[in-house]
């Protein structure tokens, strides 16, 4: 497929895109570029470049340690942020994409396939052994350019996307493979066809079905966790989140225009709605925060993938000890306990 090829080309992340608050970095990057140009003329600038790179890292670390919630939103939505297909190919081996919901269409905004997680550890009385664990991977798929995003519908799935995901989850269950889902969507698509084909029914059925899955299920919020469209593939036994991802019931912009009657109040909405990883961890909506490389996941796909892989190993090892019944009970306990209320 040509679409996949162009996406892989973009993976090299050669062209840097700076966010508003990253402006102090631009000058340093420019200096490096200039030095590289002059170093061709018999001068060795390697040492100076290394110094500048170090300064960039320090500055980046400083900037990213003080991000406001709306700035985190910008990182989570970064056009170069690693997508589901990027991560699936880097974390797993032999990722093979599968297509279609067998009813209506294939939804390019929600992808899935089979893969293997190599070097899984198993301890037994005889010592440790390693094996390749087959897994089913599903996730929302955004593009890395406007053109790609139009083809991917900006990662906003239609009912057929959710039904494809369900088909693959059932497939995983039948063949006893753990499921890994990547969440990165502004939301389920609000459109004519989506409503006609039952967007609400598709998501609702996914929720009920995920509750009953008899295989280990790990959901990873890798970018934008937009409301029901995110939850529609997100009911893992464990829900993990990348450091600069968000998860919310409504976008900060939507919240601002509905509740505060002013779309410009999005920064305030982001602040008060508690949508960042630490806030979500505090109320147990997520179980663990996965560290991102300095400057955000888009700065190193490899490091991001490595960190996610480490987390998957850990949680999969724990979940693999549970029987199918225990896995369902574990999930029920998790979601049953969610909510805050007072009762006399």
């Amino acid at each position: 497929m040509t679409m996949e090829k162009t996406e892989q080309k973009h993976n090299s992340q050669n062209k840097k895109i700076f966010l508003e608050f990253e402006k102090p970095l631009i000058e340093l990057y420019k200096k490096i570029e200039d030095l590289r140009k002059t170093s061709g003329a018999g001068l060795d600038m390697a040492e100076e470049i290394r110094m500048l790179e170090k300064r960039i890292k320090t500055l980046q670390r400083d900037i990213f340690s003080k991000l406001t919630p709306i700035q985190v939103v910008q990182v989570a939505r970064h056009i170069k942020r690693p997508s589901t297909l990027d991560l699936a190919n880097l974390i797993f081996e032999d990722f093979t994409e599968l297509h279609g919901d067998r009813n209506f269409a294939d939804d390019p905004a929600l992808v899935g396939g089979i893969a293997k997680l190599s070097d899984c550890r198993k301890s037994s009385p005889l010592g440790e052994t390693f094996f390749d664990q087959p897994v089913v991977v599903i996730g929302h798929q955004k593009g890395k350019s406007t053109k790609e995003n139009i083809a991917r519908n900006f990662g906003m799935a239609h009912p057929e996307g959710y039904r494809k995901a369900l088909r693959l989850m059932r497939f995983a269950e039948r063949f006893n493979a753990p499921i890994i889902s990547f969440i990165d969507t502004p939301g389920a698509f609000p459109g004519l066809g989506a409503e006609e084909r039952g967007q609400a029914e598709a998501i609702a059925k996914n929720l009920r079905s995920m509750a009953g899955l008899s295989v280990p299920f790990i959901s990873i919020i890798s970018g934008e966790g937009g409301s029901g469209g995110a939850l529609g593939i997100g009911m893992g036994n464990r829900v993990l989140i990348l450091e600069f991802s968000i998860y919310s019931v409504i976008s900060p912009e939507g919240c601002a225009s509905i509740l505060f009657r002013d779309a410009k109040k999005a920064p305030h909405a982001a602040e008060v709605s508690k949508i960042t990883a630490p806030d979500l961890l505090e109320i147990n909506v997520v179980d663990e925060i996965i560290k991102e490389p300095v400057g955000g996941a888009h700065n190193s796909y490899e490091e991001t993938a490595k960190n996610i892989k480490t987390a998957i190993y850990k949680h999969l090892a724990e979940l693999s000890k549970l029987s199918p019944r225990e896995l369902i009970a574990d999930r029920y306990r998790k979601y049953r306990s969610m909510g805050f209320f007072i009762e006399d």
Partner: protein
């Protein structure tokens, strides 16, 4: 937090009859008339009340409070409410045009309810059932932690007592003042329904005007049978959001009950006056199929 007993709420409700009817009123002292939302005809309030709150001119179904619906559909005096004192907690200290905690108190005073749903055991045609009835006049019937917990409890109650379940929805979706926790109620209620289904207990979902957002995309669409009142707005995204996204006007009848039936999402569109008889027939089916 001062304790307001439900009895007090009901008293207040009786004292303040005007606040009770959320429908549009004409500017006439005493609110004897109301203007029909659909056909715009001015109709005697009494006439509408006597007609199960259905417009005698065009058949438009006005919203019912939870207790009005209970009185209309279920066997007289059979409803026994459970989990009556559960209230929302403003854990985000959320303030939009008013603090969330104040909004809750105001809605409680206005409706006499503790939150946007009442749950309990009742009978219909002498068949024992578990039921949940939502009330749109409580913060737009939005689903927060209390609605999620109560739906979960009535599911567990039905599992425990082996009773069929019915839920009447009337909701704008998630309660944004509870942030992500309102979204999690979709997962929670669907999990409870998964258990109910696993055990083989029937669940009837009745959608009334409006049922949208997270409510539709969780428990409202998951009935073994999905039933809708006529011309109710039922959908995932709100019509305005869709219009803004696709930049075109929506076709007439879009996201209405009949549209959903046409597209295979709803089993039956049933007018209010026939709802009780329909439900009795349906529950009788389940009684007779019970193993």
């Amino acid at each position: 937090m001062p304790k307001l007993s439900l009895h007090n709420w009901f008293q207040k409700k009786k004292e303040n009859k005007e606040a009770e009817n959320p429908n549009e009123k004409l500017d006439i002292p005493g609110n004897l008339w109301i203007k029909c939302t659909k056909c715009r005809a001015a109709i005697f309030n009494k006439e509408i009340e006597a007609n199960q709150k259905v417009c005698p001119k065009c058949g438009f179904h006005f919203k019912l409070s939870a207790h009005e619906r209970i009185a209309l559909i279920l066997d007289r005096g059979s409803f026994k409410e459970i989990s009556t004192t559960m209230r929302s907690k403003d854990f985000l200290n959320f303030v939009d045009s008013a603090p969330y905690s104040q909004r809750i108190l105001r809605s409680q005073e206005k409706t006499g309810l503790s939150d946007a749903i009442v749950i309990g055991e009742a009978s219909i045609g002498k068949i024992a059932i578990g039921c949940g009835v939502m009330d749109f006049s409580f913060m737009g019937g939005s689903m927060g932690s209390v609605v999620g917990e109560k739906i979960t409890r009535i599911c567990e109650y039905c599992i425990d007592k082996k009773l069929p379940l019915i839920i009447f929805s009337s909701s704008g979706g998630a309660r944004m003042q509870e942030g992500i926790m309102s979204l999690m109620q979709m997962a929670k209620t669907s999990s409870a329904l998964s258990r109910l289904r696993e055990i083989g207990i029937p669940y009837i979902s009745v959608m009334t005007n409006p049922t949208t957002g997270g409510t539709t995309a969780s428990f409202a669409m998951l009935g073994d049978l999905n039933i809708a009142e006529p011309d109710a707005l039922i959908g995932f995204a709100g019509p305005r959001v869709i219009e803004q996204t696709i930049r075109q006007k929506l076709p007439p009848g879009f996201q209405r009950s009949e549209f959903l039936k046409e597209h295979g999402m709803v089993d039956i569109v049933c007018e209010r006056s026939k709802m009780r008889d329909l439900l009795i027939k349906i529950f009788a089916f389940f009684v007779n199929t019970r193993k």
